[in-house]
Amino acid sequence: MRWDVVAANATYLLEGLRGTVALGLLVMALGTVLGFGVGLARLGRGVLYACATGFVELFRDTPLIMQIFFIFFGLPALGIRLNPFVAAAAAMTFFAAANTAEIVRGAIQSIPRGQWEAARSLGLSPAQSLRWVILPQALRRMLPPMMGLFTTLLKDTSLAAIVNVFELTTAGRRVVERTLASFEIWLVVAALYFLVCYPLSVATQRLERRLVAETA
């Protein structure tokens, strides 16, 4: 074993980790905003509903890697040329948004019908009912699955390595290519991901338990 290789490349790998976190945060922020819009559109009817449903199905039912390829290699055929970072971030944002949309829709639909009925029978408009009665309750239910999605997104930023965006997996691959210390480096790379994702997972589980305890 050659653990000295790890020590020698520690700074480089940590830079990669920073890239991972930055990409992850960007995708979470953009995906959440877009996903909320799509999720609300899924509650409606007509063209908006159809478009939102198509978007959700397309990005949830196909592999993220295909979406990245499509945007990075495929869109240039239509004259849209994106650099690897933008392409990967865009694909992941759509992926995040599609999953967020389902969380938003699920949470809103999980609020009992009686809540809508009570709000509407008090004279609140549909928008007021959503804003003051339904969403505040739904947001709490969204929180654990959203945090779970964030963990997934953080892990999935590793796919950006396939189009050579600089983040942790790319950093790992470059070090391995240079040093051939594949076992050590991939182990350390996995450990670094774990270090970031595990606390998020634990926090998610805690929150979930607390919410369950509160509603019981």
């Binding site: 039912d61 592999p63 295909m66 055929a77 892990k155 796919l159």
Partner: protein, 223 residues
Amino acid sequence: MPGPAQFWLESLPALLRGALLTLQVSGLSIVLASLLGVAVAACRTAPVPLLRWAGAAYVEVFRNTPLLVQIFFVFFGLPRLGLRLSPFQSGLAALSLYTAAYNAEVFRAGLEAVPRGLREAAAALGLSPWQRFRHVILPLAVRISLPALGNNFVALVKNSSLVSTIGMVELTFVARDLEAWTFRSFEVYGAATLLYLGLVLALAWGLRGVEARTLAYLRPRAR
């Protein structure tokens, strides 16, 4: 240059061969990941603290690191320990290990969701602990787990695309290969995306059928 329709027709056999391999590795992984998942879930709910801890560690490690890194670790890292696996074997191993962690959590939740009263009723009827598990608790837990398990299987099919990165000639690999030769990226990835969509929707449809049959007891009889 041939038109899109002709191009699709010509590349379809290759893409279908790729899809078949995707189906194979996914199908095998579903079986392995389910068996391993039940075992890990059993560990996680076992009365022995060491087993519980080992089960939890397994789940956390595999769920909190990227599958891509796990694949690289198995394919590139393990040979340095003298364990050399083919791309197919590496992919199968990584996919199964990864999905098993998720399945284990689903099964555990299913086991915990079996109402206490049913366990007590089974015990009161004089069933042995194994009989209770085998005939009452497990069948119910599996049924409760089915919807979430289905989601894991769908994710597995999509995740199998990552095995292309270590040279397994499944659907994604074929698509990249075709694209590299023909530069017709839009058509190639479009076709591959549609094939994945078909696979996933077919799987989801099949799973709904299974659910409908096994969960029929939950629905009140139609009037």
